[in-house]
């Protein structure tokens, strides 16, 4: 798990994200992934939000290359596979999920109001710990909270199961997700 910070221009960006969310493709993705007043542009393969943010995308790809180097990937040349935004309104959340067929996940917190909900991460060793008499196995059921706030960016491996807490704010919470791959040599 890696974290960074990027200063988003919310004044310019959020109206554009709101326009994306006006699309009929905005809604629940997968089987009950978004719950309550939450929606995603993940069905919209054309209007991908990273295309609105070339500078951020470049910054994120540079960070991805550093991570791929640490992970000893075949190449450090990173590219965006796809991106989408999630909007969580009061009571809305995204259930636990992984990002299949991806090398790296980016969660960029464009706007997180107070009480907007944290990121929840499940230890990928959960099944190994399961047989041990540790109270971790109780907290592991609901994940470990990672704090979210405006401009926070998390990078993590795609096999890490994660979710969001419900937003308890009257203001919208906007998160952009990006799937990044490294260039394959074979």
């Amino acid at each position: 798990m890696f974290e960074g910070e990027y200063e988003f221009d919310r004044t310019a960006l959020i109206p554009q994200l709101e326009a994306l969310s006006d699309s009929p493709k905005f809604g629940n993705y997968g089987n009950m992934l978004e719950v309550g007043d939450a929606g995603s542009t993940a069905h919209d393969y054309v209007n991908q939000p990273h295309l609105l943010m070339p500078e951020f995308t470049k910054w994120a790809l540079d960070r991805a290359s550093e991570i791929f180097n640490l992970w000893r990937m075949q190449t450090t040349k990173a590219h965006v596979v796809r991106s989408w935004v999630n909007r969580h309104r009061k009571g809305g959340w995204t259930n636990f999920h992984t990002h299949p067929n991806t090398d790296l996940v980016v969660a960029a917190y464009i706007q997180v109001p107070k009480n907007g909900g944290n990121l929840l991460i499940i230890d990928p060793l959960e099944n190994h710990w399961f047989g041990m008499p540790t109270t971790r196995n109780i907290s592991e059921q609901t994940g470990k909270p990672y704090p979210t706030m405006n401009d926070k960016v998390y990078f993590f491996a795609p096999f890490i199961r994660h979710a969001t807490e419900a937003s308890n704010s009257d203001r919208d919470r906007w998160v952009m997700s990006m799937n990044i791959n490294c260039e394959r040599l074979f």
Binding site: R72, Q74, H128, T134, R136
Partner: protein, 187 residues
């Protein structure tokens, strides 16, 4: 994975090891293909467990204190106890293949004598299946594991589920270790 150091009275302990190895009929290989080459182990014999020896009580008191600290980090509330222990002797070319310690919370391996080129500990990443589909060169290394250098008086602690092995001893001298399985009360 945790690393510590304990100053063993090597001469006394190895003399006792040699005595056990020469008197015990089943000081031999253990498991199904775990050991290869010139290797002997007291794991077959529950009468010669090092944690019951008076001369090793200071070491085992120390082990239990360290285990308590580790269990606290792992959010395990109950006190540790020694489940079983044994000694391994590796002659030239002796190898211990990849294995885990089933039904154990914590493993402590103490290196009583590691000659030069005596072989290091090898640990396999427990996330190997998660990484497997990623185009990472780590997947090549993962077959063999990651080398953890060890020296005389080192003590390495790690979770019972970690797959591990030992490189072959390339020295003319024996490599002696004590392996200990530690559990928590109440499980």
């Amino acid at each position: 994975m945790f690393r510590g150091s304990f100053e063993f009275d090597k001469d006394t302990i190895i003399a006792k090891f040699n005595d056990i190895a020469s008197r015990s009929k089943n000081f031999d290989k253990y498991g199904y293909g775990d050991f290869e080459g010139d290797v002997g182990s007291s794991a077959n014999n529950s009468n010669h467990q090092p944690h019951t020896w008076p001369e090793l009580q200071p070491y085992y008191d120390w082990i239990l204190e360290r285990s308590k600290e580790i269990f606290k980090l792992w959010e395990m509330e109950n006190d540790p106890y020694i489940d079983r222990s044994w000694i391994n002797r590796y002659g030239k070319g002796g190898v211990l293949n990849q294995h885990r310690h089933a039904n154990t919370d914590l493993i402590a391996v103490s290196y009583i004598q590691v000659p030069k080129n005596g072989g290091d500990l090898i640990i396999v990443d427990p996330l190997e299946y998660h990484w497997f589909r990623m185009p990472s060169n780590n997947n090549l290394q993962m077959y063999f594991g990651q080398t953890v250098p060890v020296a005389t008086n080192d003590v390495i602690f790690f979770a019972g589920f970690l797959r591990h092995s030992v490189e072959p001893n390339q020295s003319d001298y024996y490599r002696w270790i004590i392996s200990t399985n530690i559990r928590t009360k109440g499980n």
